[in-house]
Structure formats: C-alpha cells, structure tokens
C-alpha cells in the first residue's frame, strides 16, 4: 500500500481512500482528500517534515504522520487538465 507519505517530490498520484479517525482526519477529508482526486507531492520542509502537496487548485502543508492517513496510487504521468 502506498500512502502520500511515501511519495517523492515531483510525483503525481491519485487518492484511493483516507484511513483514520479523529479531528485531523476529518480536516483532511474536508480539505479535499477524497477518492479520485489527483495531487502532486511538491516538496518536504528543510527538516524533512512537514510536506507540501498540490491538491486540485491549491497548495497545502501537512505533517508526515497526517500524510500517512491518505492511501494513494502513483500515476507515472499525470494526464493534464483534469479535475
């Protein structure tokens, strides 16, 4: 299983599902990590944590522990111009 936490800078992926519970988890869902959404892993912070993700139209920073709640499937070449 691949999670958002396993991606490397520049890689694009699609959300398979979100696993977890609690308030942080709910916030992630609300921010748009829902099944089928494509995202780009942009970079990690200088000390390795947190990470920056481009999600649909905006950039979001989250901790690695939080990124591990999001199961993704890696897309080698993301089709352009998709929602």
């Amino acid at each position: 299983m691949t999670t958002l936490n396993d991606l490397r800078p520049g890689e694009e992926a699609r959300v398979v599902k979100c696993l977890g519970e609690g308030r942080v988890f709910q916030r992630l869902c609300e921010m748009g990590f829902v099944e089928g959404v494509s995202l780009t892993f942009v970079r990690q912070a200088p000390f390795g944590d947190p990470v920056e993700v481009k999600l649909t139209d905006y950039h979001l920073s989250l901790r690695r522990a939080e990124a591990a709640m999001i199961e993704v499937e890696l897309m080698e070449r993301a089709p352009r111009g998709r929602l």
């Binding site: 519970e21 609300e30 947190p50 139209d57």
Partner: protein, 753 residues
C-alpha cells in the same frame, strides 16, 4: 454606498453574516463594504473575535458580522461552535442573520464551495462573492458566474475586492435579497435549502430528519428554542464534537445511543467524515460542471518560483533567519526613540502636574500612580505597533505560512506547532504582543501552551535589570580565550535560560495539563500577493486600541494599588523631622550650590524614610525570612515585590530604597556605588556587617527576574486572550514558583563555589 437615512423614512435594519475560508480575501471584502466603521470585541465565554461593521445599502441599515475564516462548520470546540451558532441565530448577544454573505476564492473554487455547501443547508438566504477573479483568470480558470447563479439559485457576484471591482454589484445583490427577506418574502433565497433536499444524499438526510423529529420536542422544552436539523447532522458526523456534547448535556446521555445508531445505519464501515466529504465534493463537482473551464497555462507561477527559494533547505532557512533578525532588531531599535519620546512626554506631564499641585497625597497619586501607571502601558505601544506591522505584512503577503512550514519540525519536538514560533520570538521584545500574536494558532491546546510559555522569553524590560546587575557585579573578564567577555556570556546565559525553560515547560504542559492530540498542522500555503496596506493598518489600529483600553484599565488599577501601599500611612512625624532638618540647613548655609545639594540630599533621605515606613516597607521586613534563602535582604525582597506589576520598576525602587529618590536609571553610577557598599546590619545573626551583594546574590536576583512573571500587562493580556483568569493566574503562579526555585538553586550553588 448611499446614505439615504432620513428621519421621515423608518429605516430597515438587517444583519449580514460574512463567512469564508481563510485566505479568500474575506477581510478585504469586509473592509470594502464597511469602511472604517468597525467594532472589535469578543463573544462571551470564548476567545473568538467578534467584528461588527455597519453600512447603509439602498436605504437599509446593514449590520455586517465578520466570522473568523473557516474551512468547515464541523465544530470540535466551543470556539468553533460560535460560527454555527451565529449562523443559526442561537449565539448569545448576536442577532439572527437575515443574509449570509459567503466570500469565495474563485481560483480555488472546489474547496471553497465545501463551506458554501454546508452554509446552504442552514436555510438562511445566501449571496456569494466570487472573489479574486483576476487570480483565477491568470491561472487559466474561467468561471461562468451567471451559470453558477442559475444552477444554485442564489446570487453569485464576481468581485476583485482588493481593487474594489464588483463591489457595487455586490452591494446591489445584498440589498435586493435583504429587502426581500426583511419584507417576509424570502423568494429564491436559496433553491437548495428551500426544497429541503439539502446537499446530502437521501439516506443521510432521511435519518437525520427522523432523529431531528424525535429529539426536537424535548430540546424545545429544555431550551425554549427549536433544534436545527444542521445541529443534528453535526452531532451525527462529528464524533465527540461540540454538537454532540451539547445535545447530550441538554437531553441526557440517552440521546447518544440514538445518535450512534444513526451513525451505524448511514455509514456502516465508512468513516463518517469520508462519507460527508465524498457527498459534498460530489455535489460540488456536479454543480460546477459546465461552469468552470480550465485552459492550460504553461508558465510556472510566481508563487512556485518564490517558494523554490523561500522553502529551500539552505536559502529558505537563511532568509527566514535574516527576516526574523530584522523583525526582532527593529522592534528593539525602532521602538527605542519612540519609547524615549513617550517617556519624556510623560515626565514633562508629571513635571507640570507636580508644579501645579502642592505636595501631598493627590499630587503623589497623580504623578507616581496614575501618570507613571498609564506611562508604563503606553511605553509598550511602539514595540507592539512595530511588531504587528511586520507580522501583519508577513501574514498578508503569505510568508507567515511558509515560516510555520519551515519551523514546524523543530517546534513540534516540544509539543508546539510551527505557528508558535513567531509569538515566542516576539516574546523577546515584549510578551504582550507575542501573546496577542498567538491568535494565528489553530489548536486551542497548542495556543494555550504557547501563551503560557511566551512570557519566559527574556523581554526588553528585563534588559535594564540584567544590565545593572551584570555591570555592577560580574567582572569584565575575557573567557574562552578572549572570544567572549564574562559579562556578555552571563547575559547570553540568561536569555538561554528563558528559552530552555520555555521549551521544557511547553513539553511538560503538553504532557500533563494540556495533554491531547496535537492540533492538525494542515495549513494552506496561499499564493504570494502584495499586502493590502490599508487592511494591515486597520488591524494594527484595532489591536493598539484594544491593548490600550483593556490592559490599560487593569494596569492602571494595579499601579494605583502599588502606589497606595508604597505611599501610606505617610506619617506626619517623618515629614516633621525632615522639615526641621531643612530649616536647619537653610539657617546654617548661605544660598548657593552647597545648600541646594544638601537640600536635595535631605529630599532623598526623606523619600527613603517614607518608603521604609510605608505598608510596602513594613511588608518587606516581614517577608525577608522568605527570601533569605535566596540571599536577599528586606530591601531587595521589597524591590522585587514592588516589581510585580512591571519588572523594570526594580531599578527605580532600589534607587528609592537606597535613599536616592525615584529617578535612577541603570546607567547611574551612583546606584552602582551604593549597591556595592550596601551591607547587612551589624546585628544580623548570619552575615553581620558583610556586603549585601556579591556574585551569587546578583545571579540569584537575575535568575529570579528571568523566570518570574513580573508584568501586570502580561497577566492582563493572558486573561484577555484566554478569556480566563484561571490561566492568567496559572501562568503567574508557575512562573513565580520557577523563579523562586531557580534563584534558590543559583544562590546556594553560587555560595558553595
């Protein structure tokens, strides 16, 4: 805006609540609509800022209520519930809204529509301002506002708030819908809520509807208002959220089983937040489809280019460090001349009051109590303004989020978040603006921990205290092969002590009193933009006003109490003694320099005698045994106690106590002399005739001042920001204990060495 309010026409009055995501330009739009007529306060019982503005639109007097930026109406704390309560019209001290104005970031439509999707379910007419249309265009996002408006059945107005474009149309839409609502014919307020279908799927909607019908009668009897279906929905979805807590406290725990059953029926294995987000984003895509077009834009955005440098492993950190250094340095240096000017102004006011009134309690109250007290507060103002100008600019242009991104890893080691960094750094200048700056921290416990440890940072008011004791007692000797002086090393050590203790305290607090899951560090990194100077200045003005009014009243009260303790009983016997002495000098010496000097000398002796005889002086002699283990005599103890309202007072107090009058600053060579010469009385059982001050005593005093919460303004600010005297006294208490223990250890160790 047209002002058509006349005495003849009875005005319509309407309440508009403004909601939106953070970074959607909500504040800019709010400022455009209301101009300068805004009022900032707090909702009762919570730390949520209440901002209300007024304007007149087409003859309707409109009250605009600005809610804090939020991504969702899910509420896990009383603070988050305020938004829901205001929107539903249940908030104490707030009118039910006649209209909700939702500000949406057009360049990020999908995520912004998540909140809209929830707001539409509340059943209040909605107007959408599609803000930042220019940004969206630049990114190749084209939006058909009219089509969206038709599809959603609500007004959708394209706006560029920072340029003032579209504001007229927005005002027109607001007044049109408002007029209809106030006339009692909501019409097409919101197609979505009118047909009751909500945005939810049928199963969830039906179950929530049933549960609502079941719980409502009992709720109505208990609370005198009906329960809204949205509250039931939130209770179902937000496990252990605030809506659930409220229902169980009103209806008893039995309703929890019912809620749990609904959860199982609608979601099964799927976590409820996933269910809700799935439904809502599905609804969003359905409604946006055909009204939003993306054209591929090749160019790398400016934000991306900047971020490559500003979040870079080396350059990013370097730039951040330099930026913080500049902020910190300017708070120190830019504020200095302003503070001196204020100091001079207060001194001259005090001087003229002194000249106008004859000697006595009233004159002393006005000059030493009121003017010195007000001055103490106003003195902080330049630092606060400069710090908040920087913070405001950095926040508005989008850099603040990057700072938090860079620092989060380090800060999370001690249980804080990246957003705690700026407030704690500000604490080096002054804890008051630092504590006020914690408002950017989202999690309540993270924020509380930051508030409670920020006063441990060595603020600029501690510097004069360090300066006088280091300058007097620490030998100016080179250490580490002449790289550093011992004096500089001591100063550095005191700053380091504050940081180390703050980090340890934060860690302990997050493990004990403030234990709990860490707040999410799910932080949007908004696109960089030029800061809106008008908005930044307006916020600056609001904070300055709030600080002066609230902290000012409390500080003033404390200052007057301390003055009274240090002034009374003011026995006439002492005055008579010194009056005789003055007469004797006047008789024996001819007018001239010597007589003036002798008379001044007598004046200082007299104020010293009064202080020794005052309640404060008497108290000092009673508390000496308490401070004896720290190596202090009653005079130091008393000076330290007198410094609780404001720590820098110790310099003036020591001056007074050592018979020098109140006007001494840390550069005063005479004070240093008398500190060195001070001895214990020859009758003292432990150290007869020995010097009061030596290196361990000086260190013990400095450690005490480094750790102690001797600042009325800080205590008052903690009270204001946490909305609780409990936390304010907790901060005061734990710091006082730490200070005592720290000073004790320092003195005892120092004595052994």
């Amino acid at each position: 805006m047209r002002d058509v309010l006349t005495a003849a026409s009875p005005a319509l009055v309407g309440t508009v609540v403004v909601v939106g995501n953070p970074n959607a330009g909500k504040t800019t739009a709010f400022n455009r609509l209301t101009g300068l007529s805004q009022k900032v306060g707090n909702y009762p019982g919570v730390t949520v800022e209440k901002k209300v503005g007024r304007c007149v639109l087409d003859g309707i007097e409109v009250r605009l209520v600005d809610l804090p930026g939020t991504y969702s109406l899910a509420a896990h704390s009383p603070d988050e519930m305020v938004a829901v309560d205001v929107l539903l019209g249940h908030q104490e001290g707030e009118e039910p809204p006649d209209l909700v104005l939702q500000i949406v970031d057009a360049s990020n439509l999908e995520r912004n529509f998540y909140l809209l999707c929830q707001v539409l379910e509340l059943g209040v007419p909605v107007v959408v301002a599609l803000n930042m249309m220019d940004v969206a265009r630049a990114r190749g996002i084209l939006i058909d506002a009219e089509g969206l408006s038709a599809k959603l059945g609500i007004a959708v107005i394209p706006v560029e708030a920072h340029r003032g474009r579209g504001i007229d149309e927005l005002q027109g839409a607001i007044s049109r819908v408002l007029r209809r609502t106030l006339a009692g014919t909501p019409g097409t307020g919101s197609a979505v809520s009118r047909d009751g279908a909500l945005c939810l799927n049928d199963a969830l909607h039906a179950r929530v509807g049933d549960l609502h019908a079941e719980l409502n009668p009992a709720f109505q009897r208990a609370r005198g208002r009906s329960l809204h279906e949205f509250e039931v929905l939130r209770a179902v979805i937000d496990r252990e959220g605030h809506a659930e807590t409220r229902l169980s406290s009103v209806l008893g725990d039995s309703c929890l089983d019912r809620i749990q059953r609904v959860r199982e029926e609608v979601a099964g294995e799927v976590p409820l937040p996933v269910l809700e987000a799935g439904i809502r984003y599905g609804w969003i895509r359905q409604n946006i489809e055909g009204h939003l077009r993306r054209t591929p834009v090749k160019a790398v955005t400016w934000t991306e280019r900047l971020d490559r440098v500003l979040t870079h492993k080396v350059f990013g950190l370097l730039i951040f460090a330099v930026m913080m250094l500049i902020v910190f340095q300017s708070v120190f240096t830019w504020a200095q001349p302003l503070m001196e000017m204020l100091d001079g102004a207060f001194a001259s006011v005090a001087g003229s009051v002194e000249g106008a009134l004859s000697q006595g309690a009233l004159r002393s109250l006005l000059t030493d109590g009121v003017i010195a007290g007000v001055g103490m507060v106003v003195m902080f103002l330049p630092q606060i303004l400069i710090l908040f100008l920087f913070i405001g600019l950095l926040e508005d242009c989008g850099y603040m989020a990057r700072g938090a991104f860079l620092m989060d890893k380090i800060m999370s080691k001690c249980g804080l978040s990246g957003k705690s960094f700026i407030p704690m750094l500000s604490g080096f200048a002054c804890a008051v603006p630092g504590i006020m700056a914690t408002r950017v921290i989202e999690g309540r416990k993270d924020r509380l921990a930051t508030v409670l440890v920020t006063p441990l940072m060595s603020c600029s008011a501690r510097l004069p205290v360090y300066a006088i004791f280091i300058g007097t007692f620490i030998p100016d000797r080179p250490v580490i092969h002449g790289v550093l002086g011992l004096q500089a090393l001591t100063l550095f050590g005191l700053y380091a002590l504050g940081i180390v203790v703050a980090v340890a305290m934060a860690w302990i607090l997050r493990k004990t009193l403030l234990r709990g899951s860490r707040a999410p560090f799910v932080l949007e990194l908004p696109s960089y933009k030029w800061p809106a100077l008008a908005g930044v200045l307006l916020k600056l003005f609001e904070r300055a006003k709030a600080f002066l009014v609230r902290a000012g009243t409390i500080i003033l009260a404390i200052a007057i109490v301390v003055w009274a303790l240090a002034y009374f009983p003011h026995s006439s016997g002492i005055g008579a003694d010194y009056a005789r002495e003055r007469q004797r000098i006047a008789r024996e010496l001819p007018p001239g320099a010597e007589r003036t000097a002798r008379l001044q000398e007598v004046g200082k002796l007299e104020s010293g005698a009064y202080l020794r005889d005052s309640y404060f002086g008497r108290l000092g002699q009673h508390v000496e045994p308490v401070f004896r283990p720290l190596g202090w005599d009653w005079r130091i103890s008393m000076a330290a106690i007198a410094s609780f309202p404001a720590r820098e007072v110790i310099v003036a107090t020591l001056g007074t106590i050592y018979n020098m009058g109140g006007s001494v600053d840390e550069e005063s060579a005479a004070l240093r002399e008398s500190l060195r010469e001070a001895t214990w009385p020859s009758t003292d059982p432990h150290r007869p005739g020995l010097p009061v001050f030596n290196i361990p005593v000086a260190l013990s005093i400095m450690v005490f001042f480094a750790l102690c919460c001797q600042c009325g303004a800080t205590v008052a600010t903690i009270k204001r920001e946490t909305n609780s005297w409990g936390w304010a006294w907790f901060a005061f208490g734990y710091m006082t204990i730490l200070a005592y223990v720290g000073a004790f250890i320092t003195y005892q160790l120092g004595r052994m060495v």
